[in-house]
């Protein structure tokens, strides 16, 4: 709506006190001095034809509403002047305006399509108080030819509500109530607003007349705040946090080498990667960061891009370590006609204040740290190959342990019960065994596993483990586990799947699942 050139843009803006500021720019387009008497509208080309997307005050007075078809608006107001809208340009303008608006606070965010939000926490005194701040903002924005609505409140939601539906330059004071504002001030989807209107809830104050449980039952979506009046109400009152994305970007540390002569050989590429790593390490050092994720992009002469990514177990900015990790990843690079541009970036960084010494020489003398060791292992073998077992709350033996990344912090868990001895090793898949037993429900006398006969001399059991009925299908059979020792002292964990006559299959089969130390 805001074509940035000569026209200004309508625009409301709100600022908040301790938390967030909420501006919004909803508005009549284009008014240069003296032009405001001419009805004017911006258009968008929709599937049903041209529609008005923004109008000025004169046009609204003449009956041209936002959202109307152009022909309908022309019928009401034949002298309406129009121009095509430029949503991308508007957004770009809003972004520039957001950067400019940081003069009233260190932190500004967009509220598309027409709002801005400035965090004015602790800034008001510089402008002689909150009223002075709003006055200054109104003056500066008016000087840029923008018509705005401003409000200042402790939360982003409250600032939005006041700037859109409150008085001019509203400032929220402790004890002020939002009860009189319309439901639309809650930033809800049109469909939700319609539902509330049909329920007879038109003001925010009326929501407090309804039991919270009833509202929670009626509006179950919690993911999208715009579909849940309770979440919006809580955001308005500051009961739940509302994270916002500031406009200032965070530059990704990166290093780049443009090569005069495309390179085709590995040794040269290694050299380039070394140089890149050295550059990147320098920029990381300057910012006090360590890289957790690295991306190496290699642009080939024939227009293809090769990307190699790797992640580190711990933030690091050691050039030699990074080069060593990448060396394993460059083996399968096909340079084709040559590589002309190489770029190394660190999209994920973490603060790393301490300087660390050279990994390689330190590793020779004192050994590597655990994080460096795991990095090296997982770069060559894959992250899936290096893992740590973790107890899981299940009595089903295969599910009682899970595998996590080695440096992931351990979760608090109840230790497993100690009165059952569990095997040292578990086969990935229980192997069927042929069994000779005295009676079908009893203990096997001897069994054959992997072609060898084992005489059962001593045994303990059964330990009956029922399937997890909430997860398995209904016909799953229980298991009777036995701990057995054979004539040569080998100890095994075997089980019978099911009981004869349990109606869930034929004669039960026997399996060997674990090996005791």
């Amino acid at each position: 709506m805001v074509a940035p050139q000569a026209r200004g843009a309508g625009h409301h803006r709100a600022a908040t006190r301790p938390g967030y500021a909420q501006p919004s720019l909803a508005a009549p387009p284009s008014k240069r001095r003296g032009e405001s008497e001419i009805p004017f509208a911006l258009l968008a080309d929709t599937v049903h034809g041209l529609r008005l997307t923004a109008t000025n005050a004169a046009a609204r007075a003449a009956g041209a509403q936002v959202g109307a078809m152009l022909t309908d608006a022309r019928a009401l107001c034949p002298q309406l002047k129009v121009a095509p809208g430029d949503p991308a340009g508007d957004l770009a303008f809003l972004e520039r305006l957001a950067l400019w608006a940081r003069r009233w606070g260190p932190w500004a965010a967009l509220d598309p399509p027409d709002g801005l939000l400035v965090d004015t926490t602790g800034v008001a005194h510089l402008f002689g108080g909150e009223a002075g701040l709003l006055e200054d903002a109104a003056r500066s924005l008016a000087a840029r030819g923008l018509s705005v609505r401003l409000a200042l409140a402790p939360t982003a939601g409250a600032a939005w509500a006041l700037s859109h539906y409150g008085p001019e330059q509203a400032i929220w004071h402790a004890g002020d109530s939002f009860d009189d504002l319309p439901i639309a001030a809650l930033r809800l989807d049109p469909a939700v607003q319609l539902v509330l209107r049909r329920l007879g809830l038109k003001r925010i104050g009326q929501l407090s007349g309804v039991a919270r449980d009833a509202l929670a039952r009626r509006f179950r979506t919690v993911r999208a705040p715009a579909a849940n009046p309770l979440v919006r109400l809580d955001q308005l009152l500051g009961r739940v946090p509302e994270p916002l994305l500031p406009v200032q970007g965070k530059p990704v540390p990166l290093a780049q080498r443009r090569l005069a002569e495309p390179i085709r050989h590995r040794s040269l590429l290694d050299r380039v990667v070394e140089d890149l790593a050295a550059d990147l390490v320098r920029s990381l050092e300057a910012q006090g960061l360590g890289a957790r994720r690295l991306e190496l992009g290699l642009w080939k002469v024939d227009g293809e891009v090769l990307v190699r990514k790797l992640e580190l177990a711990e933030a690091s900015r050691d050039g030699a370590h990074l080069v060593r990790l990448f060396a394993a990843r460059l083996d399968d690079i096909d340079a084709g006609f040559g590589i002309e541009l190489a770029r190394l970036s660190a999209p994920w960084c973490e603060p790393r204040a301490l300087s660390q010494r050279d990994f390689e020489t330190a590793a020779e003398a004192h050994g590597t740290s655990l994080a460096a060791c795991i990095d090296r292992l997982s770069v060559r073998l894959g992250a899936e190959a290096v893992r740590r077992p973790e107890l899981h709350a299940s009595h089903w033996p295969e599910r009682a342990q899970r595998w996590l990344a080695p440096l992931e912090p351990a979760r608090e868990r109840q230790e497993s019960l100690v009165f059952h001895a569990r095997p040292l090793k578990l086969l990935d898949r229980a192997e069927p065994i042929a069994v000779i037993h005295t009676h079908p429900d009893g203990l096997p006398r001897r069994f054959r596993w992997r072609g060898n006969l084992h005489d059962v001399l001593r045994a303990e059991g059964p330990e009956r483990i029922a399937p997890e009925w909430w997860r398995e299908r209904g016909a799953a059979r229980l298991r009777d586990y036995y701990r057995v020792e054979d004539g040569q002292g080998r100890r095994y964990w075997i089980y019978r799947q099911g009981i004869a006559g349990d109606g869930r299959g034929d004669t039960p089969d026997w399996f060997l699942q674990g090996l005791y130390a």
Binding site: A363, H366, G367, T368, S369, L370, A372, C373, I374, R376, L377, R380, L381, E384, A385, V386, R387, R388, P389, E390, L391, P397, A400, Q401, W403, P406, A410, S416, A421, R422, P423, L424, K425, L426, L427, D428, W449, R450, N452, L457, R458, A459, E460, R483, V484, E485, Q488, G489, R490, R491, G514, L515, Y516, A517
Partner: protein, 273 residues
Amino acid sequence: MTEPTPLAAFARRRTPLPLARGVGGGPLVPNAVYGAGSNPPLTPPASGSGPVLPHWRPGLGGAAVHSELFAFSGEASGAGLALAMALDQAAGDERPFLWVQDKAALRKSGRPYRPGLPPALRHRLIHVAANTPEDALFALEEGLRCRDLSFVVGELAGNPKGLSFTASRRLSLVAEKHGVPLWLIRIDAAHDLSSARMRWDVRSAASPPPRWNADAPGPPAWQAQLFRARAHPPGKWILRDDGQSLVAGAPHHEQADPVDLVHRPGDRSLATG
């Protein structure tokens, strides 16, 4: 049948007994245990003037940083004994340890199961599942370089080409340099050339009866034969984990031999010298 002699008596002697001298004039290792069918030791015997080698015993600690345990695939005796020895050598260490398995070893002998690991090791395991023996050797070497690991256990099946004498020497040197002990379990492998400082043959042994249920399998026991060691004479033991520490006893069926100076079964004072 000679009366068993306390080993300590021999250990203190500076010169070997004339009895222990071989027929060919070459001195034999005093106190060497030649069980039924076991080969003579591969180590060059200690020379007459050199110091007498002390017998291996549990709790000796710190002596060998690279040991090899030959075990069979149908039992977990190799892994069990390796963990017991590691615990015996580095009790009280709370650093994590690395357990590397190649694919064949994983398929033949299973994957570590946390509820069944010794309680002192449960929370410290970092497991590496390598696809090939070469990857496993790489992981072992990287693990030995790491100062934050208390020990490294490797499990390799068969006699892979990658595990040559050079490779094993490499492992020994790295382990010695960084002081991280390595227990390499060789599953279904022949005794090939290796530079391991101690080489064992391990099998399961009948477990002692548990306290409450005599019909049930008891705490683990292993039959272990040390067939080559640099710092110790070879020997044969029944080792068990009694819950607190590793305990050694002599094999139950030891053959009588004039040179056989084996301690009695379960007689710990002899074994510990």
